[in-house]
């Protein structure tokens, strides 16, 4: 039985550290399951509710500020939930529980790596971003640097991240819907593309925010319910939970310690750098700070988000351990009833099987609908970020030099969101059945090596100049993309070469340093007159970041 297990799971979960990471973010190939009416019905309720909200939001969205940042009228608590909704992906629910199910403690390492970016976002970014920017994160970098060049670079950085992450989510949506609802892959991809374009085009940031809030609420309620039901099987004793999990798992007590993820420590460190600093460069997360009225509410929203995200990861650990016992000992969840063989539906299914085991078809339907709603909410946020990068950054600020008619801007934003929807659907279908693990590495690699260094240095380093940011940003982009191409995920698994040239799937350990080094070098050697002015403007920028002087205000309706 053990060799069989290894053959089936090894390629996806047990090989190397980074492979584990990608398995948690991307869903493995799955088989189509029988039609699940409960799940579909519950999901339709979610879709109808969110479409109703979009209709309401469309009536509230009058100005372009309303469209981009809900007029700054979202409260700190609401934004905190929406931030959590943006960040808690289906991959975290399905992937991390499955990681604990198979590898135990590795899932904990993964969880805290995903979590630790949040306190840092609060301490270093939240308030400054709110005070310096208005619509996109490019506003911040171009505050004292050259509008045209820096805005173009950061807008492309954002669009690259949005595009890669969208493909990951679209492919995940297609696989999930086959798995959970028993519907064809292409239906899912088209439905997701259509819905996200509708939310963003008509409801703008207001609708996007409420989709996130509802989804975050559903995910937290569903997860908590599942955890309570699961824990009741152990008399609410963690000691019992751990004892039985160790007894049920074929690795025994080894599951309580780090294992596969630490096989290559440097790969683990590169992964964790990418996750921590990549999160701090995700445009769809950072743009949420513009939706609150002031820096005080921005602070509060990260506190709320950090609390919910932390709580969610604690629940995920309980679910993973409970699944080891409840799912791992029930032959009904294995193909041909062979315990330890292949899980029905594939390696990402432990939490779904757990829902079925402790709550029957009703709970399974609910959790399935929540998982799909989760993807829908994340792609809406991404579409919103991509749309504002195109219409605000590229069209209004770069192409029209800041002098565009509101109605033209509105039209461009509609074209952009529909265009992003079409691109996402086409790529989602093209990448069907492809190994897309590398796209996650690219998303976080580019975010950590292009967006993050420029953003952090523009706010914290007086010496940064336009030339330095351009050279460093391009160096970060080139190094992160080429290292991912040379990594095992692409060089070996996609291109079929026998051995990878770059040993880690996640490039951050090299590409972030390259980006920072070249930004520094390009800045300190810059003796132009503009560079002097840019350095001088830092003091005024710091005053605004620190005191909110001149920061954009909430729009009153």
């Amino acid at each position: 039985m053990k060799p069989l297990f290894r053959v089936l799971i090894a390629p996806a979960l047990l090989s190397a550290a980074a492979t584990c990471a990608s398995a948690a973010e991307t869903l493995q190939a799955v088989e189509k399951q029988p039609l699940n009416i409960t799940a579909i019905a519950m999901f339709l309720v979610f879709v109808l509710t969110t479409l109703g909200i979009t209709y309401w939001a469309a009536n509230k969205t009058k100005s372009m500020d309303d469209f981009y940042n809900a007029g700054g009228g979202i409260t700190g608590f609401q934004n905190g939930l929406a931030l959590a909704g943006d960040y808690m992906s289906a991959a975290a629910l399905l992937g991390v529980t499955s990681m604990i199910f198979f590898n135990g403690f590795d899932g904990v390492l993964y969880s805290i790596s995903f979590f630790v970016a949040w306190p840092l976002l609060l301490f270093l970014f939240a308030e400054r971003i709110r005070n310096l920017g208005r619509i996109t994160l490019s506003d911040i970098a171009s505050f004292r640097l050259d509008q045209n060049r820096i805005r173009t670079l950061t807008a492309f950085g954002s669009l690259t991240v949005v595009c890669f992450y969208l493909v990951v989510q679209m492919v995940g949506a297609g696989q999930l819907i086959q798995l959970l609802f028993g519907l064809p892959y292409n239906y899912a991809v088209i439905a997701v593309g259509l819905l996200m374009a509708v939310y963003v085009t008509f409801g703008g940031m207001v609708a996007t925010t409420w989709v996130q809030i509802i989804k975050a609420g559903l995910l937290l309620v569903g997860g908590t319910l599942l955890a309570v039901l699961a824990l009741s099987k152990f008399g609410f004793s963690f000691e019992q939970l751990f004892k039985q999990a160790v007894a049920a798992h074929h690795d025994g007590e080894l599951i309580l310690l780090p294992s596969k993820l630490v096989a290559d420590p440097l790969a683990l460190i590169s992964l964790s750098l990418g996750l921590v600093f990549g999160t701090a460069g995700l445009p769809h997360i950072l743009m949420r700070f513009f939706t609150v009225p002031d820096a005080r509410q921005a602070r509060k929203s990260v506190f709320i988000a950090t609390g919910f995200i932390g709580f969610f990861y604690l629940i995920v650990a309980v679910l993973g351990l409970a699944a080891i016992v409840i799912v791992g000992r029930d032959p009904a969840f294995y193909e041909s009833g062979i315990l330890g063989g292949k899980l029905i539906g594939g390696g990402n299914m432990p939490v779904m099987h757990l829902a079925k085991a402790v709550g029957g078809d009703l709970l399974l339907g609910f959790i399935s609908a929540v998982a799909f709603a989760t993807i829908l909410a994340v792609v809406s946020g991404l579409t919103m970020a991509g749309t504002s990068a195109i219409s605000h950054d590229l069209y209004v600020m770069v192409f029209k030099k800041g002098r565009a008619e509101a109605k033209d801007e509105r039209r461009v934003s509609r074209i952009a969101s529909v265009g992003i929807g079409i691109v996402a659907v086409v790529l989602g279908i093209l990448f069907k059945d492809q190994n897309i693990a590398f796209l996650v590495a690219l998303t976080f690699g580019v975010a950590a090596s292009v967006n993050f260094p420029i953003l952090a240095l523009s706010m914290y380093w007086k010496g940064l100049t336009t030339r330095g940011a351009l050279i460093g940003g391009i160096a970060g982009l080139v190094s992160s993309v080429s290292l991912v191409i040379l990594s095992p995920a692409v060089w070996v698994k996609v291109l079929g070469n026998p051995e990878a040239i770059f040993p880690f799937d996640y490039p951050a350990i090299i590409s972030m340093n390259v980006a920072f080094f070249f930004t520094w070098l390009g800045s300190v050697t810059d003796r132009s007159g503009e560079a002097m002015l840019e350095r001088e403007r830092f003091d005024d920028q710091l005053i605004r970041a620190q005191t909110g002087l001149g920061a954009s205000q909430a729009v009153n309706h």
Binding site: F105, V108, L109, S111, I112, S113, F115, V116, W118, P119, L120, L122, F123, L124, E127, F238, E239, F242, K243, V246, E253, L256, L257, P258, L261, V262, P265, L268, I269, S272, V276, R296, R299, K300, V302, F303, T306, G307, G310, Y313, L314, A317, D539, D540, L542, I543, R544, Q546, T547, G548, L549, G550
Partner: protein, 104 residues
């Protein structure tokens, strides 16, 4: 233009430098208090996992790795609370004092 004048006024305000340096010190402490335990935890997991194998008690099967993970998440969240407490109180009061008599 008003912003430029106000900005110049703030720059020379005696309490402004105080705000900047106090906040910088506090943020540096919190970032260190978050990142040092995190990377220590990751490095221990990578190079000395046996250190995590210590059981909670003689009768328990749970090792210290799991509660440490929980403590990290809860602790980092409490740090965010600590930051909010001081930012909403002390730093906001100082900012209000600096902005007092502002032109804009």
């Amino acid at each position: 233009m008003n912003h430029a004048i106000e900005s110049a006024r703030i720059r020379n305000h005696p309490r402004y430098q105080e705000l900047v340096s106090r906040q910088r010190r506090f943020v540096a402490c919190l970032v260190a208090a978050t990142l040092v335990p995190y990377f220590t935890f990751i490095l221990i997991a990578a190079f000395a996992p046996h250190l995590l194998a210590q059981k909670l008690s003689a009768t328990s099967i749970i090792n210290i790795g799991w509660p440490l993970g929980v403590a990290f998440i809860v602790g980092a969240w409490l740090f965010t609370g600590l930051y909010i407490l001081r930012a909403n109180g002390e730093f906001d009061a100082l900012t209000a004092e600096i902005r007092e008599g502002a032109i804009v």
